[in-house]
């Protein structure tokens, strides 16, 4: 018997540690000798905490939304009586959403103990690097990656083999392979899940990359905000060293030495840009510089360097093991393999999903994501975070691949997929992203530094009901200029959320500016609260809860709101039990 508790960051946030503690206690109390293990995130965040009970025949029962209070009952049933408690187990529907996915980068996440190198090895781990060192030349490795068609999963989608080859061709003995694990897109957590759930895959991917390009040293630049990921990575590196997968003369073939270290980033979105990341690694302010020279020629400490994203690297061992053509068999003509997405926002089944490229967006949102929360109307899905854009209902059939997504004005990005419903205001959404990029602009380029601020000011004004004729055109003009006048990806893409919402939701901007109305009823300044005379029974609840005493009326008589006093906090609507408070 074995009990496995999902302990990724999201599981822990949902209370997995408390559940783990409760199981430990319960087992001790009953004197049961049962193996208690942990695993990473399986991706079904909306069902966390999740535990698996594996019986002696190896049959697995998955319990979801487990609380410490449920533990006694579950252990009693499964350990003593040999039964299942059906009401707590995962539903068939949820099980199916998992089956619709194709897991390559996430192949081990939630399937094994990330803190055990033995489990990784048992699942075929470190076989790929062994194969490379023992029987494959670096050129053959690069060729295999070329066949696979793998493109960078961090955002830009540059062919991985090309970058590796460029670093390989650069003269010099000292080269570096760097992993960008500084996942900064708000609303995306794919990389964290791999770091926490399967750190050895990343290590092996870096080993293979290092071997292919001739880099003897690897650095993982990881967000300091991911303490659990850092902890598990450290452990994994130590274990790999001990087993001889890291260090000198690997596999005793006299062909390859490799060392790996972690550098904790200190929080700057711009460090997702390669040259900014390198500056940060060197202990400087993370500001980008002009390319060329590209990092492949002059990177970290002026040496040839290659930077790949976590998900990209996690795919590598699988490609070497199964062959580039197996990877290329999935996906579309120009986008091969699978992609991991963090499906969040107004979606029923929020979490991580890995799907083959080319799948229609609709299937991801409705078949895997389960559709919109509370069955409200779908409005748009935001892809690519602060660098991306919104895709509206009319384009829901879009195929999920680099080129099709780019055509819509959004980008594939690192994999954030935030679903929005009818209650999301698109102007406010654009303002939210601009606020983010404005804060994260490093300040080097004037267009980015000041342009984003000006755009934010205009958007804030529109949301406050002070929009003017010409604002939309001004936003468009500024947006184009910022794109042209910025050095790095941050500035070049910062206007995207605004431009794409104007493209598809221009009418919503116009309603804000000309009619002074927010159709989604989100922009407080544009709302008017009133009492529905037919529904109000005069219970006085709203009047008692109004923070500014803007509501008056006698008991059992219809109340009214003094608009000059109303601060539009919405408290009256929240407390009213008779749907008598309306908002326009």
């Amino acid at each position: 018997m074995k009990i496995i508790v999902g302990q990724g960051s999201c599981g822990i946030a949902a209370g997995a540690n408390k559940v783990y503690g409760a199981i430990e206690k319960e087992l001790e109390l009953r004197g049961l000798e049962v193996e208690l293990a942990l695993t990473g995130c399986i991706g079904m965040c909306y069902l966390e905490p999740i535990i698996d009970v594996v019986d002696d025949q190896g049959e697995k029962t998955t319990y979801v939304k487990v609380t410490p209070e449920m533990v006694e009952e579950i252990i009693e049933a499964s350990m003593i009586k040999g039964e299942k408690i059906e009401k707590y187990t995962i539903s068939d529907g949820d099980q199916k959403t998992l089956e619709k996915q194709q897991r390559i980068a996430l192949r081990n996440c939630g399937m094994m103990n990330p803190e055990s190198i033995d489990e990784y090895i048992a699942r075929g781990g470190y076989k790929a690097i062994e194969k490379c060192i023992k029987s494959t030349t670096p050129d053959e490795v690069i060729e295999e990656i070329k066949v696979s068609g793998l493109r960078g999963r961090g955002g830009a989608g540059f062919p991985t083999w090309f970058k590796w080859n460029a670093a390989r061709q650069s003269p010099g003995d000292t080269k570096y392979i760097i992993c960008n694990a500084d996942e900064g897109d708000p609303g995306a957590f794919m990389d964290r899940s791999i770091l926490e759930g399967d750190p050895h895959s990343l290590i092996e991917g870096m080993l293979i990359g290092g071997y292919a390009m001739g880099a003897k040293e690897g650095i993982i630049y990881v967000r300091a905000e991911y303490p659990l990921a850092i902890l598990r990575l450290k452990r994994a590196i130590e274990d790999a060293k001990e087993r001889g997968y890291l260090g000198k003369n690997l596999f005793n073939e006299n062909r390859f030495d490799f060392s790996l270290r972690i550098k904790a980033g200190a929080g700057a979105f711009v460090c997702g840009e390669e040259t900014a990341l390198i500056a940060s690694l060197e202990g400087e302010r993370g500001m980008p510089r002009l390319k060329p020279p590209f990092p492949a020629q002059k990177g970290y400490w002026q040496k040839p360097s290659n930077i790949n994203n976590v998900e990209t690297l996690a795919n590598i061992p699988w490609i070497i093991e199964n062959g580039g053509s197996a990877f290329a068999a999935m996906g579309t003509e120009t986008s091969k393999g699978t992609k991991v997405f963090a499906l969040t926002g107004k979606i029923k089944n929020g979490g991580l999903v890995e799907v083959p490229m080319g799948i229609p967006l609709k299937e991801v949102i409705y078949d895997i994501g389960g559709g919109i929360k509370e069955d409200k109307a779908f409005k748009a899905v935001q892809m690519g975070g602060p660098s991306g854009g919104c895709i509206p209902t009319s384009l829901l059939d879009t195929s999920v691949d680099y080129d099709s997504i780019t055509k819509t004005g959004a980008i594939m990005g690192s994999g954030g997929m935030v679903v929005m419903d009818e209650t999301t205001c698109m102007v406010d959404m654009a303002r939210f992203f601009l606020d983010f990029t404005r804060k994260e602009s490093c300040g080097k380029c004037i267009h980015c530094r000041i342009g984003t601020k000006r755009m934010l000011e205009i958007l804030t004004r529109i949301c406050a009901g002070e929009g003017q004729d010409g604002d939309i055109e001004l936003l468009e003009e500024l947006g184009v200029k910022i794109k042209e006048g910025s050095l790095c990806g941050l500035g070049q893409t910062a206007p995207n959320p605004v431009l794409s919402t104007i493209r598809y939701f221009r009418d919503e901007y116009e309603k804000h500016i000309y009619d002074k109305k927010c159709p989604a009823k989100q922009c407080a300044s544009l709302l008017t609260y009133s009492i529905n005379i037919g529904n109000c029974i005069g219970c006085t609840l709203c009047a008692r809860n109004c923070p500014t005493n803007a509501i008056s009326g006698e008991r059992k008589e219809v109340h009214s709101i003094d608009q000059s006093l109303c601060i539009k906090c919405g408290k009256c609507q929240t407390v009213c039990k008779f749907k008598a408070v309306e908002v326009e």
Partner: protein
């Protein structure tokens, strides 16, 4: 903001903190001869004091030979670093996209109202500091706050007010007990 206007306040508060220079010097040894370690050093200092005391920054400059302006430049560039002490409870309010869509603004207003502070400020009793942070990565639990490492998800304004009041009450009890 902090570099000129705020420096007076920083110095005043810092009188309460005594810097253990011996310990700092010991820590520097680890990075001796390794170029580009400034960020790691600053992270360790912040780990020790929960913020970057100005004396410690000056001492780093003295010991490492890195110019104070550069140290200050790096310390103010990254969001992780703070130049002011924080309260006993650090409330990190997630401002990721999912939390924003699911109402983090209302949560922020409730916290600010409950504590009578603005984002980035500390309450007068030094009990709470409110910081907005980009994505904590628990999007399916949005809106989310993390208070001293503990995550609270699927929040409503009433829930967050209660969480704060409970902490306050617990603190008061401890105070009285002492």
């Amino acid at each position: 903001m902090n570099c000129c206007g705020g420096s007076k306040a920083i110095e005043q508060k810092q009188q309460d903190v005594s810097i253990d220079f011996v310990k700092l010097k010991e820590m520097f040894k680890k990075y001796d001869g390794i170029d580009g370690s400034l960020i790691s050093i600053l992270q360790e200092v912040q780990e020790m004091y929960n913020y970057l005391p100005i004396e410690a920054l000056n001492y780093i400059a003295e010991e490492t030979g890195i110019k104070p302006t550069k140290i200050h430049g790096v310390a103010t560039f990254y969001t992780q670093f703070r130049l002011k002490p924080i309260g006993k409870y650090l409330i990190m309010l997630c401002q990721g996209t999912a939390c924003h869509v699911n109402g983090s603004k209302a949560i922020e207003e409730a916290i600010c109202d409950e504590l009578n502070i603005k984002e980035g400020e500390t309450t007068e009793d030094n009990l709470f500091t409110l910081n907005n942070v980009a994505c904590l990565g628990c999007c399916s639990l949005s809106p989310v706050v993390m208070i001293n490492g503990e995550t609270y998800g699927k929040l409503t304004t009433d829930m967050v007010r209660k969480i704060i009041r409970d902490i306050k009450e617990a603190e008061e009890k401890v105070q009285k007990g002492a």
